[in-house]
């Protein structure tokens, strides 16, 4: 009879220090040697990891009331504008917001040295940041200007709240234009298929290891930026109804996660400012998700190798911006990691935007947390919309 187990049983084992925890890479080796049935019997939890740019990220802070009190109307932290359309001294720092006066791509390609993500990194690193704010003044909040400095330890709340992280799979970006180098969120792409850039940890990537969201859902506890976080919702653009392999893994971008966590518990190493030349600023973020091996099906999917996981090749000089269908097919993560891929008979060198070795470190660290009993699994209170949900990827209604 095949093994099944519940979140509750696994958490009891974690508390007793008896849970068997391996990384997704280790599970791959185990399944290759002993098969799915034996591996499922042996292992309770598999850890995954990813470390890459995740643009749809940000942090909300409550900076505390100055005296006299003030309702912030416009504010800049380290010269980066923050959103004040909340209660009096709540602000939201968007990761991709640029520094005031940044000429962006006026002098193409812009270098985008500093933005919201860099502010978040400095806060997590314990540095003091400068805030400048203005207000129109009210009877209860008379103050009209604020100039001050604060560190993370001095303010009330600081919460990382990311509408879209951990994209389940991503495009392999190329540039098929003849002459012009292009600058994209997928990095610098040389003309005439000069390079192919990808951005996924493949066989270590969280949502590629639980491809049909059997175990991850609202309430899942995760490694987020070196601290503890939670899945609070499906991510924006979550569109699970896509083409998939026999093993259930999407062969194109599909699901995504909304993540939240206490910024005060995070580490600067796992959360850094990212400058994409000619594109903008992003947040380089580490996420790790534990997958409980509830049954053999979960185990089989979690043991998928780079050779069994595929990504679509997409031209970013014209097809992507114009929304055309890509004619270049799919390529496996094993091929991408080999250093070059074949596109229409030509050898194209590959570059990665996410760090595989850091993804491995995250999976290892999370494994350590679970083994030590300090990190219990969060059983989802609601599942995420699955492959049969009919949720697709909608474009803006241009026809009104």
């Amino acid at each position: 009879m095949s093994v099944t187990r519940t979140f509750e049983e696994i958490n009891e084992k974690i508390k007793a220090g008896k849970a068997v925890v391996v990384t997704a890479e280790e599970l791959i080796g185990l399944v290759a040697e002993e098969g799915v049935t034996a591996a499922t019997k042996k292992v309770d939890v598999v850890t995954t990891g990813t470390f890459g740019p995740m643009c749809s990220s940000g942090a909300y802070l409550n900076i505390g009331h100055p005296l006299p009190r003030m309702k912030l109307n416009k504010a800049w932290v380290n010269e980066v504008e923050v959103y004040c359309g909340l209660a009096a001294v709540d602000i939201y720092i968007g990761a991709t917001e640029l520094r005031r006066g940044d000429r962006a791509n006026e002098n193409y390609p812009g270098t985008f040295e500093y933005g919201g993500a860099h502010v978040i990194h400095e806060l997590v690193a314990g540095e003091k940041v400068h805030i400048e704010a203005t207000a129109y003044g009210t009877d209860c909040y008379p103050r009209k200007e604020l100039n001050g400095r604060f560190s993370l330890a001095q303010i009330n709340q600081a919460v990382l709240l990311n509408p879209r992280n951990c994209y389940q799979n991503y495009n392999v970006a190329v540039n098929r234009s003849r002459e012009r180098t292009i600058h994209t969120y997928m990095g610098i792409l040389k003309p005439d298929f000069g390079n192919a850039n990808y951005c996924s940890a493949g066989q270590l990537s969280p949502l590629l290891k639980d491809p049909t969201y059997r175990t991850v859902g609202i309430g899942t506890r995760v490694f987020l930026g070196g601290g503890t976080g939670y899945v609070y919702w499906q991510g924006t653009q979550h569109h699970p109804d896509v083409e998939r392999t026999e093993g259930g893994a999407p062969t194109v971008p599909a699901g995504s996660l909304g993540l939240v966590g206490d910024l005060k518990t995070m580490k600067p190493h796992w959360l850094q400012g990212y400058s994409a030349t000619g594109y903008g600023v992003s947040l380089l973020l580490g996420v790790g998700i534990p997958i409980p091996l509830l049954d053999e099906e979960v185990c089989r999917a979690a043991a998928a190798t780079d050779a069994e996981l595929f990504a679509p090749i997409v031209d970013y000089s014209s097809d992507y911006p114009q929304g055309n269908k890509s004619p270049y097919g799919k390529v496996s993560y094993a091929e991408l990691k080999s250093g070059s891929i074949k596109i229409e008979g030509r050898t194209v060198p590959t570059g990665s935007l996410s760090s595989y070795s850091k993804a491995r470190e995250i999976a290892e660290e999370l494994k350590g947390w679970i083994r030590s009993g300090s990190f219990l699994l969060g059983k989802p209170v609601e599942p995420l919309p699955g492959p049969d949900s009919g949720l697709g990827f909608n474009m803006f209604p241009m026809d009104r």
């Binding site: 610098i188 000069g194 850039n197 990212y274 400058s275 491995r360």
Partner: protein, 135 residues
């Protein structure tokens, strides 16, 4: 024994018309590989060249260049890579003209300083801005 040395030459404006390449080949029997050059008439110029030949010939050639009034620097000094901050993503790898930046079997970035031709493409390709070229 054949040796190779990569150097960065800085020409003052008055020396941009001295035929140094010709002299190095003819008088010192050196093989020259010009890796990068920015030399304009009546302005200071810069060049990265690889000299190949007998060790003594290279020494003599470099002395000739210095004596002629050119500034000669070891090319490896002209790239600054803050390696400790590297996340080993590999975004720089396909841009490196000298193939000095490569992903290893350990999934980490390896920088072969001797292979660097100071092309400078890594500067914009690195999202953490860890490279600086002084060329």
């Amino acid at each position: 024994m054949e040796n190779s040395k990569k150097i960065v030459l800085t020409f003052p404006p008055e020396l941009t018309e001295v035929p140094i390449v010709y002299r190095l080949v003819k008088d010192y029997d050196l093989i020259l590989n010009i890796l990068r050059a920015e030399v304009r008439e009546s302005a200071a110029g810069k060049m990265v060249i690889e000299l190949t030949g007998e060790e003594k010939a290279i020494e003599a050639g470099v002395k000739y260049l210095t004596d002629s009034g050119l500034q000669v620097r070891n090319a490896e000094m002209d790239i600054d890579f803050r390696e400790a901050g590297c996340t080993h993503c590999g975004a720089c790898v396909p841009h490196c003209l000298g193939e000095a930046l490569k992903m290893g079997e350990d999934d980490r970035l390896h920088f072969d300083r001797a292979a660097c031709v100071l092309c400078g493409r890594c500067v914009a390709a690195c999202p953490l801005r860890l490279f600086r070229i002084t060329f």
